[in-house]
Amino acid sequence: MEAVVREALPGLLRTAMAAGLPRDRAEDAVQAALLVFVERAKDFDGRARASTWIHGILVRKIWEERRVARRDGDHDDIDRLVDNRFDADGRWVRPPSGPDEALARGEVRRELTACLESLPDRQRVAFNLREVEGFATDEVCNILDVSANNLGVLLFRARNGLRECLESKGFEGSRDAAV
């Protein structure tokens, strides 16, 4: 039990902060979720991974407290931004020219942090659970209580949101690099 909790702790804190909580409130939320887990551990049948289960409790609590809307809107600015990159035949008219080598060399940490913060909470959490915590897509669906389609939309928007944000900040290789 202690091993499970200890191992899950860093990821839970990251997830709580990805959901938009500042560090001290993230700790409170993680503590509350872990207390629920510890209390209910005897009911836990082990079919789902423990960390998936605890993450689900954590996210649910955070959304309830903050009364975050259940789903992403049907339309989002990022959808339009992405759409505008293609012509009527679906071909690129404004091909991607975001940071590539610069990202690989770790040169864009500050911009990346800013772009992450600019994402809507639900998109950022979905992205975090998938890319950082490494949950499989069906586990992320479980944790967030969304359908596979919904998750696809969240990930599409998060990834494009980050890519567009980074490209707009201008780096080597981009045509309109900020001077």
């Binding site: 860093p10 990346l112 950082v132 596979a148 890519r163």
Partner: protein, 81 residues
């Protein structure tokens, strides 16, 4: 089928993973031939790597973690001294 906007949507949403083999092969072929879509997919991969590396570079706060664990775990027996 398989326009650039469809390819990028399939990849960014990860719908490609559940798609039929025919579609997955078509995407792979498209990526072989389209440098823009190749770049797009590469940029997404780089972003994922960069965010992961950001996350693990956050300093650990062992004292804070221990304090939290103590509040959560009942009747922890202290490690043998």
């Amino acid at each position: 089928m398989l326009r650039c906007n469809e390819v990028t949507r399939l990849c960014a949403s990860e719908e490609i993973d559940g798609a039929p083999l025919k579609t997955r092969l078509a995407v792979r072929l498209h990526l072989m031939m389209c440098e823009h879509c190749r770049r797009y997919v590469r940029e997404l991969a780089r972003i994922g790597e960069a965010v992961r590396s950001l996350a693990v570079s956050e300093p650990d706060d062992a004292d804070r973690d221990e304090a939290l664990l103590r509040r959560v775990l009942p009747d922890r027996t202290p490690p043998p001294s």
